[in-house]
Amino acid sequence: MAEQDWKTNRGVFAAVSLPTLLWVLLFFLIPMAIVWLYSFGENRGLTEIAISGTLDNYKRATEWLYLTIFGKSFAVAALVTLICLIVGFPVAMAITFASEKWRPWLLLGIMLPFWTNLLIRTYALMMLLGTQGFANKGLGVLWEGASWMKALVGLQPLPTWEPVELLFNNFAVVFGLVYVHLPFMVLPLYAALDRLDRSLIEASLDLGAGHFRTIMRIVVPLAAPGIVAGVMITLIPALGAYLTPDLMGGTDSQMIANVIERQFKKANDWPFGATLSFLLIYAMFILIALQSMRRKVPEAH
């Protein structure tokens, strides 16, 4: 039995559709429309905003300063996604091929951080990376070890260890975003790998391909939809990340979301903030359009 035409049962259709449709219209589409309208507005006085149809905000968004911030956000998000993919792929493989006994626990191990509060995870990382944190102490121990080794072979020992600033710079932002987004990448990868027909891998191995070659030529192409899904699920939130660059970044690691926030909370330039928000949304749409184009290509054959 297929889907029912809505006209055959108008009463039930109204009961299931009206609440959702009204909600989406009132509390999603209208707020979005307001942002869109404001992006064509200008400030007149302190609290007054006139929607004058001006394109000045969009012109301002193409200034070099904002273009570099957009470019930088893309670069950071892409780098984070790449690192997550490289780190996450073997983990997803390991979960897929783990024994029945271990698999649920490994999955749980990846999912638990995913359920844990983002702010708490960011804060935990900040504690660890601070100048007095364990990461610095660990590096200090290594440094002293190296110094001792050099002295042992008769070389000049290294100067005393100065704690490095691991926080409040671009490194911290990338590190923090990888930390936060890794589970986003592993779960879709696992879902894709789990559906894989294992006999194909066995066939490849039997026919003489090595493990690495089998992974690159058989597993990766077959798991491509899952890889693309994982990339999108990681890339999109990383691009719009606010908390990590705000708390862990320095003055030069601002991403788009931080600039948007500043327009509303500090600069009080709502129209320009609205413009930047919509440019970010357009960027997401382009990414998703690219993905769905990719998906359609194999079906055409």
């Binding site: 039995m1 889907e3 809505w6 049962n9 259709f13 299931v16 559709s17 609440p19 449709l21 909600w23 509390f27 999603f28 589409l29 209208i30 707020p31 979005m32 307001i34 942002v35 780190v87 983990v91 493989m93 390991a94 091929f97 783990a98 024994s99 649920p104 626990w105 490994l106 999955l107 749980l108 999912m111 638990l112 951080p113 844990t116 509060n117 983002l118 702010l119 708490i120 995870r121 935990a124 504690m127 660890l128 601070g130 007095q132 589970p183 294992r198 891998i201 066995e202 719009g240 606010y242 908390l243 979301a257 948007i260 509303f264 903030g273 609205a274 928000s277 970010l280 949304i281 997401m284």
Partner: protein
């Protein structure tokens, strides 16, 4: 020594190779070490977080005695409960609509319902800030009505997840069961209550859990919709982290982590790990 395999390894047992194990182990350390350190240092008898100075629970007393923090936590839990309830209803209705009916503009409506998942949090936060300012939403209501704006915002981004989960569960429903129930004289409501809901139950549990954690977790959207009297737990922790890092934050965080772990295990009991993993 489970690390070194004794029985010969079959070709596909990738997870038994040594480098795979080391890799997974390193990733787990990476994911958990910061959280474990945070939890351990919540018991540290020192104002600064750096050196271990002995065991104490005084920061828990301090955190639980901090009225603002407790109020923020109560606000967060209230919002999460309300948003979960509303998201369950709306999300399930939307899923049933999309699964059962054929109607004009279906593709567009389907896409619009899942849009809040894709739109960046910051844009959604900005949209709610402008929306509530534009319609002049009153911000001097008494508790719990002053949480209305935040709850509305949370429902908007939570219910599409419920729709997604419930819909994938409905795909495995045999429509003949519905027909049979109707043939035997059940009304639409009875079919929904006695046939569809029992089938959807695992998805409803997963969806509820997902909504609850998403709502409890949200900082950015709440940051834009909350007023001075409607502080939620993440917003409060954020301002504490910004101003000073104290073991009090660790204590409060530890409590929330424990709550998360307990919730996850409740869900596991209800569902099994695999079913929950598939919802993501």
């Amino acid at each position: 020594m489970a690390l070194f395999a004794r029985t010969p390894r079959a070709p596909l047992e990738y997870s038994r190779t040594l480098w795979m194990r080391l890799w997974v182990g390193a990733v787990m350390v990476f994911l958990y070490a910061p959280l474990v350190v945070l939890m351990i240092f919540s018991f540290n008898d020192s104002k600064r977080n750096v050196v271990w100075r002995g065991f104490t629970t005084k920061y828990y007393e301090k955190a639980l005695g901090n009225d603002q923090l407790v109020e923020a936590l109560v606000n967060s839990l209230t919002i999460a409960a309300l948003a979960t309830l509303a998201s369950l209803v709306l999300g399930t209705l939307a899923a049933v609509m999309l699964w059962r009916f054929r109607f004009p503009w279906k593709g567009a409506i389907d896409g619009t319902i899942s849009l809040p998942i894709i739109v960046p949090e910051i844009c959604l936060g900005v949209a709610f800030l402008m929306f509530f300012a534009a319609i002049g939403w009153p911000n001097d209501l008494v508790w719990p009505f002053n949480l209305g704006a935040i709850t509305i915002a949370h429902i908007t981004f939570c219910f599409p997840f419920v729709t997604m989960v419930v819909r994938s569960r409905l795909a495995s429903f045999n429509r003949e069961q519905e027909e049979a129930a109707k043939d035997l004289g059940a009304s639409e409501w009875q079919v929904f209550r006695d046939v569809l809901i029992p089938h959807m139950k695992p998805a409803l549990v997963a969806g509820a859990l997902l909504s609850f954690t998403l709502s409890l977790d949200d900082f950015v959207i709440t940051y834009f919709t909350s007023g001075p009297d409607t502080i939620t737990f993440p917003v409060k922790v954020y301002s504490m982290v910004r101003f000073s890092v104290t073991p009090e934050v660790n204590a409060a965080s530890t409590l929330l982590i424990i709550l998360t772990v307990v919730l996850t295990f409740v869900a596991l009991k209800a569902q099994g790990v695999k079913a929950i993993a598939e919802t993501h």
